[in-house]
């Protein structure tokens, strides 16, 4: 594997881990108001994500840094092109990031209701936008010859040559993402809580999984029309079908097992489901980072966007050391102190 491809894999892994880890925080936020009704219940739910949500968010920041390191031009084009959507992301991340620690500062019910509402709505909107972002990456953007684009929030709501950030396809992916992450959050809460909260979370998970099944079918059907280019790698390397096939089996397993198997196992299955869905997408995307809608030669790929070989090589060295350390102490901390159900 070339060093550029290796960094493609690393970048995808960083964002995939982010999706899994912060995903259950977003999911928790979405289902929060429904599964936790009293203040005591809400405190428990907050305690379930309290020690970890911050570390989970760092995967986004580190992922952004890694993208910047490996493919500066893609970082520059993508972040400036999605300028409007990313500003919304930033403001929502700010609000969510404050709502979690701040709600507990006062006993006052108005104060708590206020931050609860912020937490829930910011989580929902963030999931929607991140989902739409995935939709945009699949569909492609209107890259010009100089390697830049600017996407308005919407144009015609159709995925054509000059699409906006929002069209019917990216909305669809956004809604699918909401459903997937809501289930993810509910699964996480099922592990971390018991009694009333857990049973409400289970209900949501079951309904959510059915919704995901329907939406995922729809998206798979329209995908070849929206972005035929994704098919290419599957034709040349059919081994890639492993990803969607595994994803489908995991989805079926989760549907079957949700009320039968242990919560931990279901959480693991759903985690792998998210990873394989993203894997399927990455398989089709490679070696593109951003596909140009109008003229494919304008696409940003790992070849025309990569940093210098020396930078990438030395980066692999320190990155391996650094990320191993992170994984080691994160696992250690989780296992030592934050295992099991939360209680008062």
């Amino acid at each position: 594997m070339s060093i550029d491809s290796l960094w493609f894999v690393i970048v995808v892994m960083m964002f995939a881990v982010y999706a899994v880890l912060d995903g259950f925080n977003f999911g928790t936020g979405m289902v929060y108001m429904f599964v936790a009704r009293t203040d005591r219940e809400r405190q428990l739910v907050m305690k379930a994500i309290g020690p970890v949500w911050k570390g989970n968010e760092v995967w986004l920041i580190a992922g952004g840094g890694v993208l910047f390191l490996a493919f500066p031009k893609a970082f520059a084009a993508g972040f400036s092109g999605f300028y409007l959507a990313l500003n919304l992301v930033l403001w929502l991340l700010i609000l969510r990031g404050l709502s979690i620690p701040l709600r507990s500062h006062f006993q006052n019910p108005l104060w708590r209701d206020f931050w609860d509402a912020i937490f829930a709505s910011a989580s929902l909107l963030l999931a929607m936008i991140f989902g739409a972002a995935v939709g945009n990456i699949i569909r492609g953007v209107s890259l010009a010859a100089d390697g830049y684009f600017f996407a308005p929030l919407w144009t015609t709501f159709m995925p054509g040559d000059t699409p906006g950030i929002i069209d019917w396809f990216t909305m669809l992916v956004g809604v699918l993402t909401i459903a997937i992450l809501a289930v993810h959050g509910a699964n996480y809460l099922a592990i971390k809580t018991d009694a009333a909260i857990r049973s409400r979370a289970l209900q949501i998970a079951v309904v959510g999984m059915r919704t995901v099944t329907v939406l995922a079918l729809v998206v798979s059907c329209v995908l070849p029309f929206v972005q035929p280019a994704l098919q290419h790698n599957y034709d040349t390397h059919p081994i890639g079908y492993m990803f969607p096939a595994t994803a489908a089996s995991l989805l079926i397993a989760a549907l079957y097992g949700r009320r039968r198997w242990r919560d931990g196992l279901i959480f693991l299955i759903w985690t792998l489901f998210i990873l394989t869905v993203l894997g399927s997408m990455a398989w089709g995307l490679f070696p593109n980072l951003l596909i140009a809608t109008a003229d494919p030669t304008h696409s940003l790929t790992i070849d025309n966007a990569a940093a210098s070989p020396y930078g990438l090589q030395v980066g692999v060295v320190w990155f391996s050391v650094g990320i191993s350390l992170v994984i080691a102490y994160t696992c250690w901390v989780y296992l030592l102190g934050f295992r099991g159900k939360v209680d008062r």
Binding site: F68, F75, L86, W91, G315, L336
Partner: protein
Amino acid sequence: MTSALFYDRLQFAVTAIFHYLFPQLTMGLALLIVYLKSRAYWANDAHYNTAAHFWITIFALSFAFGVVTGIPLEFQFGMNWAKFSAFAGGVIGQTLAMEGVFAFFLESTFLGILLYGKKFSPLLHWLATVMLLLGSWLSGFFIIATNAWMQHPVDYVVHHDGTVHVKSLWGLLTNPWLGWQFAHVMTAAVATGSFVMAAVGAYYLLSKIHVDSAKTFLRTGIVAGAAASLLLLFPTGHHVALQVFEHQPIKGAAFEGHFYTEAGADLVLLGQPNMDTLTIDNPLVAPQMLSFIIHKHFGAEIKGLTDFPRDQWPDTMPLLYYTYHIMVGLGTIFMAIMLTAVTLLWRGRLFRTKWMLWMIMLVAPFPYIATTAGWMTAELGRQPWLVYGLFRTAEGNSPLVGSGNVLFSLLGFLGLYLLLGLLFLFLFCERVSHGPVVDGARSLNSSVE
């Protein structure tokens, strides 16, 4: 003055200044917390444990605001400064990614232990404070390494497409500019942390509440604050000034208000730069001192601003001059206050000297002003370059993000940050008025329960 570039610059300035209000407190407090916690753990002293826990809750508050305001900065490199990111990503991508991988994970994980880890042993809690110190100072190191390269680019190669790439990672991390800049910035952070700690102590003592804690806070804050104030001037401040004059003579001449090349240059203490006559109005100067400070020789020649092409002058010269003089002026005042306070402490009179306690309480916001002024000096003085001597700011912003869209986001940030600032002050005051509680458990978990 309403081009996209103008708004891009204003937005970066606003968001960076606002962000930096929080990390400087966390980085400074981290050191003091390790001290308190070490006394608590190794001398088994419950009083120090309570003190440490109180400051950990303040740390956590400032940290939360630091984190949420830091993300926009990283994103803005791509969002507003796309051309610059494409140009320099091959170099600064390294240090920014290292910051994420080596520092941010560390901080978040170990803060989680301090706030939620009731199941962990006291030794681990002590270790977690050390890790917080390490993590937050590493963040500082990597971001300063990034900035140092923009001030003084080293160890890069230029590719055929005009972009720059790192030639030696080691060289990037041992940039000669970096050492003194890092030392100066971290000393300033310790100043902020200790001034705030001392101020809270003074407030308690004057209000006659939490008197025991108050004395600990005052002692710790004043000793650390005095040391930091001295170190800010010498050697760190002196050496950053020296390297500015060596590598960025235009910036140096501009912030000193030194217009004409001369031997035996005066040091301008007060006065307003007059951009029409290129002189200082009603100047108050220390004769030949500038030559002496920079070259250790009263007769040495120092190049003046008028010797350089005008298109290389920082485009906000008077502002630059003021911010520099504000920083140095405040630094002088800090030294005077803190040295007096230490003398009183040493004589055993500090806790009875009311006017001094008032002074300590009221001076706490000023380190924030000094650091902001210092950053404006460094960054405005770097203009018109984004990467000094290599890449102009005017070429760095995103080509397709129009001024209307940047104004939109700028207004959004202004509004949001105004609210956040008020919110932080409100919560900080609430925390302080609640005070350090003897029952460690409440203060330990109170910020998250």
